[in-house]
């Protein structure tokens, strides 16, 4: 089940160009979406399906701000309304393609999949984009054959770093012993904690003496459907035993990650990672970029294996453990919003037919 009234990330802004052939297709929450840029630069999102005989509009041709279906030549404006049907003088009212509100922010393209009247840009999650002053970030994209709910399990519980990311982000089993407190936000959870006195992660271990110890200050903002904004700051190990670290800041990093469900069992994953200009040093951003991709392939391997088992054992009981508080809270928010939408849809369906016909 997918939320309708939510902003879904449809990719990095540079993925939708202004060229003649830049007709980008996305699968978002069970719907096929066409993205293109108008001559003014505005991104248009519309159903990738001609209302005549369901031909993909992404196989069509850009004409100014409009798109022509290359099956029977129907021309649709950026508002989805049909402007021209070759050989037919008067255009039927229902010759229109559904369009979706679009906002570009923090380097991402956001598409609202629900009621356009409710598309409030303030609901778009906070993120640090690749053009944010003071930051040096690299972007990337991966597809994973798992459900977005399993991605929530993965991202709301970072204890998996010690195990899944054994050769990249982990340097010890310390992540397996953290027990963070998660606070609720209107559309997700927010979590701050410090992992203290741990060895360097394996991918940078060669840069430090063996006995070097670090404090990692973590700040996670996770929001529906599955957007994960992470401030991950590496400090020299301090001597504080609670609260924030008091060790010297070595590397301040930000990672903005948007997981967009394509359909059940498959997601697009858009992510960035990088450092603040103050803590940047030669070679580090490239190393982080490469390692991040390697680490996400590690996630992909376990998540796709997990999803395969879930298909083989449908409905098999699963147990909870101490690391499930984050996912538990996130699902509580998501499922509440899903239930509200279902109730609304039911109430609408129960309306007298005449009223529906009028609207």
């Amino acid at each position: 089940m997918f939320l309708k009234n939510a902003w879904y990330c449809a990719g990095w802004d540079h993925q939708v160009g202004i060229g003649r052939d830049d007709l980008v297709t996305r699968r978002i929450a069970n719907q096929s979406i066409l993205l293109y840029r108008t001559p003014e630069g505005q991104v248009v999102a519309m159903e990738d399906r001609c209302p005549h005989r369901s031909a993909p509009l992404s196989l069509g041709r850009k004409e100014g701000d409009a798109i022509r279906c290359m099956y029977h030549g129907m021309l649709f404006g950026a508002d989805g309304k049909c402007r021209h049907i070759p050989g037919m003088e008067r255009i039927p009212d229902n010759a229109r393609v559904p369009t979706m509100p679009v906002v570009e922010r923090s380097g991402w393209i956001w598409v609202w999949m629900g009621d356009p009247a409710k598309a409030d840009p303030d609901l778009i999650c906070y993120a640090i984009g690749p053009d944010e002053p003071g930051w040096v970030l690299r972007t990337n994209h991966i597809m994973i054959n798992t459900d977005y709910r399993q991605e929530i399990h993965n991202l709301a519980d970072l204890s998996h770093i010690s195990w899944v990311h054994d050769v990249t982000f982990a340097g010890s089993d310390d992540w397996g012993y953290i027990k963070p407190r998660h606070s609720m936000t209107p559309r997700g959870i927010e979590t701050r904690y410090c992992v203290r006195g741990i060895p360097a992660p394996n991918f940078v271990k060669h840069l430090f003496p063996e006995d070097a110890r670090f404090d990692i200050q973590v700040h996670v903002r996770l929001s529906v459907p599955c957007n994960f904004i992470l401030n991950f700051a590496v400090h020299e190990a301090g001597d504080a035993t609670s609260g924030p670290t008091n060790g010297r800041l070595l590397l301040d990093t930000y990672s903005s990650q948007a997981v967009t469900p394509r359909e059940e069992g498959s997601v697009d994953y858009y992510f960035s990672w990088g450092v603040s200009e103050e803590t940047n040093f030669p070679g580090i951003v490239e190393l982080m970029h490469r390692t991040n991709y390697q680490a996400f392939l590690e996630d992909k391997r376990i998540l796709e294996g997990q999803w395969q088992r879930m298909q083989e054992y449908p409905g098999a009981p699963e147990i909870d453990i101490v690391h499930d508080a984050g996912p538990g809270r996130m699902f509580w928010v998501l499922d509440k919003l899903l239930a509200e939408e279902a109730a609304e849809a039911e109430a609408q369906a129960a309306q007298p037919e005449a009223e529906v016909a009028l609207s």
Binding site: K179, R181, M184, Y313, A316, P317, E318, I319, D320, I321, V322, D324, A325, P327, G328, R329, F331, W332, V333
Partner: protein, 319 residues
């Protein structure tokens, strides 16, 4: 979790004591069931769709049938009620192969301590120890004689001399934990199964006498309110508003809060996952979860309202 379900048939269902049913299962297609070690349990899929874990209480030497003892928990979530009310002789049920989280140590004298329905894995252990000719003593604590399931079987067992029953309503039979632990041989292992309070009492007594954890083995039931009627009502005060909410004996703190319009995020509802963790400003919680560590319990600055209650008359919460 369960690789392969086994089709089983209920071949016996009899009362074993007040509120306790004895269930006997055989392989639906005939033939032996997978062998099990003493202390093992199985999952059973109940007619109402719930899946529950119950210990195997028959002799581990017998693979012809599995035997279970199940306590009716009227305030539970419907698992035990389904067994008592919906399952009958001749019915087919699906079960998992046995799993053992409560195995006997390879050697050493065994002190077996059972509280109430916690006797089930302990029975299988006694059978195994007897068959292997190992020394053991079984202490079985129950609220009253009519609740002592399998008492007749124990009285007739060849190892009856090693069994002692303790009744809460008969002080002359009280278990002297201190004496028991002090008299135990040096190589003795302690095996405890029962309600959380019973396990806590036994493990605390052992810890006070310096028993190493490696020689103390426990099997907890899911951390649901285990003893209907034992719960006391208490009050919750919301620190920010001063609102006072009464938690009835028959409901959880989270349910009482929900009734008052205060929704707490819930997930496992068994005190395992910590999703409902709530800050405590004042008062002493009665911690019944597995999420918090002993130190975190002792700090009393948070609790899990899905299953934990209060030792003080009122808890003040930051929500």
């Amino acid at each position: 979790m369960n690789g392969s379900w086994i089709e089983a048939r209920v071949v016996g269902k009899q009362p074993a004591a007040r509120d306790i049913t004895r269930l006997v299962l055989e392989a639906a297609g005939g033939g032996p069931l997978p062998p099990f070690a003493a202390g093992a349990h199985i999952d059973i899929e109940l007619p109402n769709g719930l899946i529950r874990q119950y210990s195997l209480c028959g002799s581990p030497a017998c693979t012809e049938r599995y035997e279970l003892g199940i306590l009716l928990e009227p305030e539970g979530r419907g698992g035990s009620r389904a067994v008592h009310e919906l399952i009958g002789e001749g019915d087919r049920v699906r079960i998992s192969p046995p799993r053992n989280l409560f195995p006997l140590a390879a050697e050493g004298h065994a002190l077996l301590l059972a509280g109430g329905i916690g006797v089930t894995p302990i029975l299988a252990m006694a059978e195994r120890l007897h068959l292997d000719g190992r020394g053991f003593a079984l202490h079985y604590c129950v609220r009253s004689a009519d609740r002592a399931a399998f008492a007749e079987r124990l009285a007739a067992a060849p190892y009856a001399d090693a069994v002692q029953l303790h009744y809460d309503d008969r002080p002359d039979t009280a278990l002297d934990m201190a004496a028991l632990l002090e008299r135990a041989p040096n190589d003795a292992h302690l095996y405890v199964c029962g309600p959380a309070g019973f396990i806590d009492f036994v493990t605390r007594s052992a810890a006070e006498r310096g028993w190493p954890d490696a020689r103390v083995h426990i099997e907890r039931f899911a951390a649901t309110p285990e003893e209907a009627g034992a719960n006391q009502p208490f009050e919750i005060e919301i620190a920010s508003s001063g609102q006072v909410i009464t938690v009835r004996a028959d409901q959880t703190a989270a349910a009482a809060l929900a009734e008052a319009g205060i929704e707490i995020p819930l997930s496992c509802e068994q005190g395992v996952c910590g999703t409902c963790l709530t800050e405590v400003a004042a008062g002493v919680p009665d911690h019944r979860d597995l999420y918090l560590s002993a130190d975190e319990h002792a700090a009393n600055d948070c609790f899990t309202p899905c299953c934990s209650r209060a030792l003080s008359a009122r808890l003040v919460l930051h929500i």
